[in-house]
């Protein structure tokens, strides 16, 4: 928001100060565009952090230290324990996305003339709608499943990040290259649906794995 309201104004001021036809002031515009781009990119790849955290801290560490068993022997069934573990981060991801996506779109559209990005950039494509939330939820589910499978935080962290990267790179390559603007939403929503389906699969697998291991 600071970038949109303040930095953008100073970039315009720098551009306005230039005599017509000369290429000065572009540095300020470039700085603005780069900063906005970084926000997009960091948000886009935040699913890595979610995957690492879910596999390592949320599940792997609890299984390794035995505190999961402590909870299960305190009258909390393993299924209830896993539901409780997943509910809060899932809600946080959805709410976070519900705030970020509109703000990001508003900021991106506010000063189109200063921005050097494109709707088909991987991060912009994803951050533009619910897909960014879907990737976050998918990372949570995949991290949880790996954490349960491996039962140790460090390997779970590594495998979760690798698996989500693979899950993200595959559709990235399948995204159409010259996409007419009218086709953006069908492509974005199809990928969202696909990622959510993988999320559902991983979540189901996590619960049934836990069910088969414990009574």
């Amino acid at each position: 928001m600071w970038l949109t309201e303040v930095t953008a104004d100073s970039a315009y001021a720098a551009l306005d100060a230039c005599p017509r036809g000369e290429a000065c002031g572009l540095g300020a515009a470039y700085a603005y565009s780069t900063a906005m781009g970084w926000i997009s990119t960091v948000m886009y790849y935040s699913f890595w952090a979610v995957a690492a955290w879910a596999g390592g801290a949320l599940i792997g560490r609890e299984l390794e230290s035995g505190t999961a068993r402590l909870a299960w022997s305190q009258g909390v069934s393993p299924a209830r324990w896993l539901t409780a573990k997943l509910a809060l981060p899932a809600v946080a991801l959805v709410l976070g996305g519900a705030v970020f996506v509109p703000v990001h779109r508003w900021a991106r559209s506010a000063h189109r003339d200063l921005m050097g990005d494109h709707l088909l950039f991987n991060d912009v494509f994803t951050d533009h709608g619910p897909l960014v939330v879907a990737y976050g939820l998918c990372a949570l589910a995949v991290g949880t499943l790996t954490g349960l499978l491996l039962g140790r935080p460090l390997p779970a962290l590594a495998i979760s990040v690798a698996a989500t990267t693979l899950l993200n790179r595959t559709p990235e390559h399948l995204r159409p290259d010259p996409l007419p603007r009218s086709d953006f939403w069908p492509a974005h929503l199809t990928e969202t649906g696909l990622v959510l389906a993988i999320t559902a699969l991983a979540t189901t697998a996590a619960f049934s794995l836990l069910h088969h291991r414990t009574a």
């Binding site: 230290s65 035995g66 505190t67 068993r69 402590l70 909870a71 299960w72 022997s73 305190q74 009258g75 909390v76 069934s77 088969h212 291991r213 414990t214 009574a215």
Partner: protein, 305 residues
Amino acid sequence: MSSTSATPAVALEASGLGKRYGRRPAALDGCSFRLPTSRISALVGPNGAGKSTLLAIAAGLLRPTSGTLTVLGEAPGAARDRISYLAQNKPLYPQLTIAETLRMGAELNPARWDAACAARIVEQGDLDPKSRIRGLSGGQRTRVALALALGKRPELMLLDEPMADLDPLARHELMGTLMADAAEHGTTVLMSSHIVAELADACDHLLLLGGGRVRLGGGIDDLLAAHTLVTGRGTPADLAPHTVIESRTAGRGLTALIRRDGPVGEGWAAEEPSLEELLLAHLRAPEAPALLTPGTTATAEAVTA
């Protein structure tokens, strides 16, 4: 479950219980036994005999590969709120204080929690309720874990090496607290341990695991009475028809632990073995036939090994 009106109530009943981890030899293999309620049972056996596995299955933390286990008349997972389980490494949340840990116990077991009992155990150890679990010694953690286990007012306690990292004084005192509490409330206790002296004082029942099944099971008095330590001149063959569990030559004589079949013959000095002698003889002789007293034999099948 079948009617138990004629027999004492059953805390645990295993039938053909098996657990295999990957390709390793089975931790439990056709394990069958029955543990009546209100007994304090010692679960012993060599390392890797399946003691921890059995306790974890009973606590509903691990699903067996084969067979069934009934806990307080229910499937293990269904009896979760009526049992306490203490894992060998005494896991607790390191970032919580002792008071917060006990509050967690109260919140997760609202119907049964006995705050006074849990607080008393912590106070006996001169622990400050405001100190974090992270900063406690192994013995202090054991004390907090036991407070959590007893505060739940369980009908069945499953304790995996409960006293291993306590100093002798704390061990004696905590064991006393545990036993007094169990006696007062009629709690059934199944605890694994390597410390035979601790078991002889506290327990009235024994389950000896070996090769994935129960090799010796029953009231300690009954088991001791069924065996005799004999000394005399002769060979193990002379001791027929008794079952010789273990024998060794001492000078020109022979000392043997036998499972009696009728009176001991003349020429042999006979005495009742101590619990330690009984356990050591069976641990040294893994091929000895299994013996389960009638009260400890599973109903589903007669256990003969």
